[in-house]
């Protein structure tokens, strides 16, 4: 789109969204609980979480369809908390698209600019620009019901982008598409965002979708932000058990603090077996904690592991060949089950068989405390 060309020098606050200590209640339910988020201009920002986590309510508050009970929302530095949606310089793409079935593609897209009483020439220029941007050339005179799902999606995007909003708000816009098309549109959306430089705030419950596109992700649960970080950080250093379980597959292991040294917490299991974790500080001896470790970080050990590695024995109970990886389920001596992923990077590699005893090892700095053992463990995803 022409945002880059027409906008003067981008100011500091262009496209910036600030959510400050916002709370929203519906009757007795607190949908959003004291949430603060800062989205710098030009970022692809996602809010990720299960249904009912408050992500859509937060998005609708940015759009102006809901008013916060507490806190405020700033758009490009201006307080918009009580400004109606029509007067905010943001546009929303709805899950159901909300295209006008009685209007052509061009009429749908020109709806916003016409209401804003832009000049005929200006509307025509913007229309042809945005149609090129979203690749709808040649479909201007079609009605929405003559378009495929992906094309309808593009019309919805174009109809929002043509207003040159400071930020584009997307509410699970790919939910109605089939998997293959969804994957294509994810890449297209990311590319579109980079090309236009518009701030995107994207709401989804699909962690893979959020990981694929986002610069940063806020993982939400129960109305609060559990963690706000880049996809890489979320995966490698989940802050809570919820995040660990929601992003990818993760093992949660109960750890009793038997020993503290070298910034490590250790649980001794006898016979040189131990589970280690990075010491976040503040843990007392004898206390329990939950640690998380990703399945692909766990290796089968041949001999004794070095001191800085976790080393623990167990019995294989299930082996599933998944092509690029083989998934093993191992029951530890402590009774806990671990999922282990072995990369199949060699033809002829032999997997252990169910019932076989194995030794597992993983680097100590790969296991992170995600909460005290008292907190509810996350159910196996």
């Amino acid at each position: 789109m022409s945002a880059n060309e027409t906008a003067p020098e981008p100011r500091d606050r262009a496209g910036e969204i600030l959510i400050e200590a916002v709370t929203k209640r519906f009757d007795d339910v607190t949908a959003v609980d004291d949430v603060s988020i800062a989205v710098p201009g030009g970022e692809f920002f996602s809010m990720l979480g299960p249904s009912g986590c408050g992500k859509t309510t937060t998005l609708r508050m940015i759009a102006g369809f809901e008013t916060p009970d507490e806190g405020r929302i700033l758009l490009q530095g201006a307080d918009v908390t009580n400004i109606p949606p029509a007067k905010r310089n943001v546009n929303m793409v709805f899950q159901a698209y909300g295209l006008f079935p009685h209007m052509t593609v061009a009429e749908n897209i020109a709806f916003g600019p016409k209401i804003k009483k832009l000049g005929r020439g200006e509307i025509a220029t913007r229309l042809s620009d945005v149609i090129k941007t979203v690749r709808l050339d040649g479909l201007e005179d079609r009605r929405p019901n003559q378009l495929s799902g992906g094309q309808q999606q593009r019309v919805a995007l174009a109809r929002a982008l043509v207003n040159q909003p400071a930020a584009l708000l997307l509410d699970e816009p790919l939910g109605a598409l089939d998997l293959k098309l969804r994957k294509e549109m994810q890449l297209e959306l990311k590319e579109l965002q980079q090309r236009t430089g518009t701030t995107f705030v994207y709401v989804t419950h699909d962690q893979e979708e959020a990981m694929t596109m986002s610069d940063r992700i806020a993982v939400m649960n129960g109305g609060v932000v559990e963690q706000l970080a880049t996809p890489r950080e979320l995966y490698q250093r989940p802050a809570t058990a919820f995040v660990a379980g929601f992003i990818g597959t993760s093992n949660l292991i109960r750890l009793r603090v038997d020993r503290r040294e070298d910034a490590m917490l250790a649980m001794e299991l006898g016979d040189g077996e131990r589970i280690l974790a990075v010491d976040p500080g503040g843990a007392d001896l004898g206390e329990h904690a939950t640690i998380t470790v990703r399945p692909e970080w766990i290796k089968l050990a041949n001999g004794a592991a070095d001191d800085r590695a976790c080393y623990v024995g167990g019995t294989v109970i299930d082996v599933v060949y998944l092509g690029s990886i083989t998934q093993l389920i191992v029951v530890l001596r402590t009774g806990e089950r671990l999922t282990v992923h072995r990369l199949n990077d060699e033809v002829g590699a032999i997997d252990p068989r169910p019932g076989e005893p194995v030794m597992l090892r993983w680097a100590a700095d790969h296991s992170y405390i995600v909460g005290s053992a008292a907190s509810t463990p996350f159910p196996e995803a």
Partner: protein, 290 residues
Amino acid sequence: MAAVEVPIEPVRRSRGSGRGALGILFAPVTLLIVLFLAPMVIMASMSLLKFPPNTASGTTLDHYREVLTNPLNLKIAWTTLWIGTTAMVIMLAISIPLAYYMVFRAGRWELFLLLSLVLADELAPVVKVYAWQVILGRNGIVNWFIPGPPKSWLLFSPFAVIVTLSASYITYTTIPIYAAMKAIDGSMFESAIDLGAGWWVQARRILIPLAAPGIFIALILVYIPMLTDFVTADIVGGTGSYMMGQRVRDLILGAGDWGAGSALNLVLLVLSVIFSLVAYWLGRLNRIQT
């Protein structure tokens, strides 16, 4: 959107079922002929009878000339048209917002409103019209509330006929519009608001165009009976509201002029058919553009 494409299956005809199909169709076709076509033919042939209507009088086309040229008939047609149209406009002005409210805002009151509309229509028409006499009369409820001397134009006037017709037929304008609006995806209004549309733009560019098929059905359902309604004008109307329905009734039952009455009725029928076709065609367009 959620446009579901229903594959149209070719109608397959199993061999040797021709006679069976004829047998099945025999009863309804006969009913149609006896109950629908036959009265038409009788009415058409009566419309040609000279006065007094009997077999000895012979036939004439004079009644049609009379219907189309008699200034009295034209005056009555005009009265019927403006009363009917005013009532129609009032009904649409109520039905469109009411249907919108029922579909998008009423929540759990939706069914209650729908049932109220249906039940209101179940009352015997004559009772309903007399009720309006009580409401609008010199010592009626409305005059009781209005300060000053009783307003006599409330009853036995075109005003009374318009109000009563509007109230009588409101069910038939609201329900088709309600049904049409049921098919509208509510998220469209949110996206319109998001794009800067106020309530008037939403109504004019989204709600009404999408409800248009229902509005046209309402027009057909209500305009045509209003053309022939005589009970309302009889009970609450006055000299200024003499309508077509009354004219037909008076010609046939009053003057006993079956020929003139039938001719007038047939002309009304043809007008109704033309009106229906136009409304249907407009409904097919499914679109009002500015």
